[in-house]
Amino acid sequence: MTEILQAIGGVPVTSTEKVVEAIDVDKWFGAHQVLKGVSLTVKRGEVVVIVGPSGSGKTTFIRCLNHLEKIRKGRILVNGQLIGYRERNGRLIEDSERNIARQRREIGMVFQRFNLFPHLTALGNIIEAPIQVRGIAKAEAIETARALLGRVGLAEKAESYPAQLSGGQQQRVAIARALAMRPSLMLFDEATSALDPEMIGEVLEVMKELAREGMTMIAVTHEMGFAREVADRVVMMDDGRIIEDTEPEQFFTAPRSERSKAFLARILH
C-alpha cells in the first residue's frame, strides 16, 4: 500500500499555512454545554490525533469543523475561510446551504459507521460526488476511482455493493470516497471503532500511509498505537475542553495533567 495520494495527483494544494483554525468554540446541546471554548490550530501536513474519554466532546468538535454541527460561539476557519457562517456586524449568521456545501468539498470525512451508499457499488460510491458535485467527466472520475481502489487494496471490489464487503473493506472504500474529492483536510471520526479487531489493522494501514504522504489529518481515535506512530500532536479533550496539546512522545511518557495520566492508565492497561 504505497502512494495513495498519487491516485488523486499528489497532496492537494492549500493556499494557507494554517489548514484549520478553531478559535474559542462553544457548542450546546439544549441545556448541556459540550464544547467550552475550544481552540485548535492545525498546520498543513500535520496529523493531529484527538483522544479523551467518551462524552468529552471530541467527536462533536470534529463534526463542527465541516459544519455537521452548528456552534454557538467562536470561529472555525478551514483554509482561511470561515466555516458555516458569515460575519455581519461582528455577529455570526449561518451561511447559505450552497456555500456550506461548497466548503465541505474541501474537507473529507470518514465516519465510524462507514455510511457508504448501499444502493451504489464501491466504484459508484467513489465517483458519485466528483461527478455530481465537482462536475468531473465520468470517464475521468472512474479512472481516479479505480486508481484509488487499487491503492487501498480493493481493485477487485469495484463492482461490489457495500453489503458484499467486510467492515474493513467498507471503511477503505469510504476513505477512497472522501479522497476522490481531493480534500485538503481529512477528518476521521473513530474510523476503526465499529470494526472487528482483525480488520482494524487494514484501515489503520491506509490512514498511516496517508499521514506519511503528507495529508493534513485530524483523527478522533482510541488507537494509541496509531497516535504514537504517526501523530505530530496528540490533543487530549475532557469535559468539552482541550486539556493537553503536545507531541505524542511527551503525551505517552510524561503527560502534564492528572486527567491525562488517569486516562492513559485506563486505556493502556
Binding site: 455537521l68 446551504e97 461548497r102 465516519f111 455510511n115 451508499f117 448501499p118 474529492m181
Partner: protein, 257 residues
C-alpha cells in the same frame, strides 16, 4: 328477470366501443393521476422536512384536508363547486390532435390532489426509513439538500415506498369510478349508459366488475414483479440494476431499450 347469459357473454367478450373508450379513459386517468399524485407526494414529503415552519404547516393542512374529506365531495367541489361560485371553471383544452374536456381535467386534478396527500405520508415514511448517516455522508461530500435527496435518499427510500405505492394504484383504478358523477364517461359511466339503454343491470354490472377485477389482477402481477426487484425492505442485498434500468426492462419492449 332471469340472468341472460347470452347478453352477458356478448358484452363481456365483444365490448362496445363506448365501453372500450371508458376502459381507455379509466386507464389514462388512473396512470396520470397516480403520476401527478406521486410527484405531489415527493414534494409534500420534502415539505414536511422543511426547516421553514410555514411550509410544514401548509403541507400538514393539505394532508389533513384531503385525507379528512370524502374523495367524492372533493371531485364535485373542484368541478361543480368552484364553477358555481365563479372561482374557477374548467374549460375544454384543444391540443390539436385531441380535446381534453373540462370534467376530465377536473377529475384528474381532484384524484391527483387526493392521492398526493396519501403519497406525502408514504414518501415521508420512506425518507425517514433511510439511516441519517446517509445524509451526513452525502453532506460531507459537498452535496446540497436537493441533490442528496435525489441521488442518495430517495433511491433508498424507494424500497419502502414502492409496495404501498402499488396498493395506492390498485385503489386508484377503482376510485376513478367516482369521476362518473361529473360526467366523465369512464368505465362505470359507460356501463351505466348501456344499462339505461338495455335495462340489463345485473349482467352489465357483472361485466364491469369483471373488467375491474381483470385490471387489478393484472396490476397485482406487475406489482409483484416490481416488488421483487426493488421493493423488499427485508432483502439485504442491493438491486443488481438501477431503478430506471429495471423499469425500462420491465416496461419497454427489447428494441426500444
Amino acid at each position: 328477470m332471469r340472468f341472460d347469459w347470452g347478453f352477458f357473454e356478448h358484452y363481456l367478450f365483444e365490448p362496445s366501443s363506448v365501453f372500450l373508450h371508458g376502459l381507455w379513459l379509466t386507464l389514462c386517468i388512473s396512470v396520470i393521476s397516480q403520476s401527478i399524485g406521486t410527484a405531489i407526494g415527493i414534494a409534500g414529503a420534502l415539505g414536511t422536512q422543511s426547516r421553514f415552519r410555514i411550509i410544514r404547516a401548509v403541507v400538514a393542512f393539505y394532508t389533513w384536508l384531503m385525507r379528512g374529506t370524502p374523495l367524492l365531495v372533493q371531485i364535485v367541489f373542484i368541478y361543480t363547486g368552484l364553477a358555481a361560485a365563479n372561482i374557477f371553471r374548467f374549460e375544454d383544452i384543444d391540443l390539436g390532435f385531441a380535446v381534453i374536456p373540462g370534467n376530465i381535467q377536473a377529475g384528474i386534478v381532484a384524484l391527483s390532489l387526493n392521492e398526493g396527500a396519501y403519497m406525502t405520508e408514504i414518501v415521508r415514511a420512506g425518507i425517514l426509513s433511510v439511516d441519517h448517516g446517509q445524509t451526513e455522508a452525502a453532506k460531507s461530500l459537498g452535496m446540497t439538500y436537493l441533490r442528496l435527496m435525489r441521488r442518495i435518499i430517495l433511491p433508498q427510500a424507494a424500497r419502502v415506498i414502492i409496495p404501498p405505492l402499488g396498493n395506492e394504484f390498485n385503489a386508484m383504478l377503482k376510485n376513478t369510478t367516482l369521476v362518473s358523477v361529473i360526467g366523465v364517461p369512464e368505465l362505470l359511466l359507460a356501463t351505466n349508459m348501456q344499462i339505461s339503454a338495455t335495462f340489463r343491470v345485473f349482467e352489465l354490472l357483472s361485466v364491469v366488475a369483471l373488467y375491474y377485477l381483470a385490471l387489478t389482477t393484472l396490476w397485482g402481477f406487475a406489482q409483484r414483479a416490481i416488488d421483487r426487484r426493488f421493493g423488499n425492505p427485508a432483502q439485504s442485498l442491493p438491486p443488481r440494476e438501477s431503478m430506471a434500468d429495471g423499469l425500462r426492462r420491465l416496461l419497454l419492449p427489447r428494441h426500444v431499450r
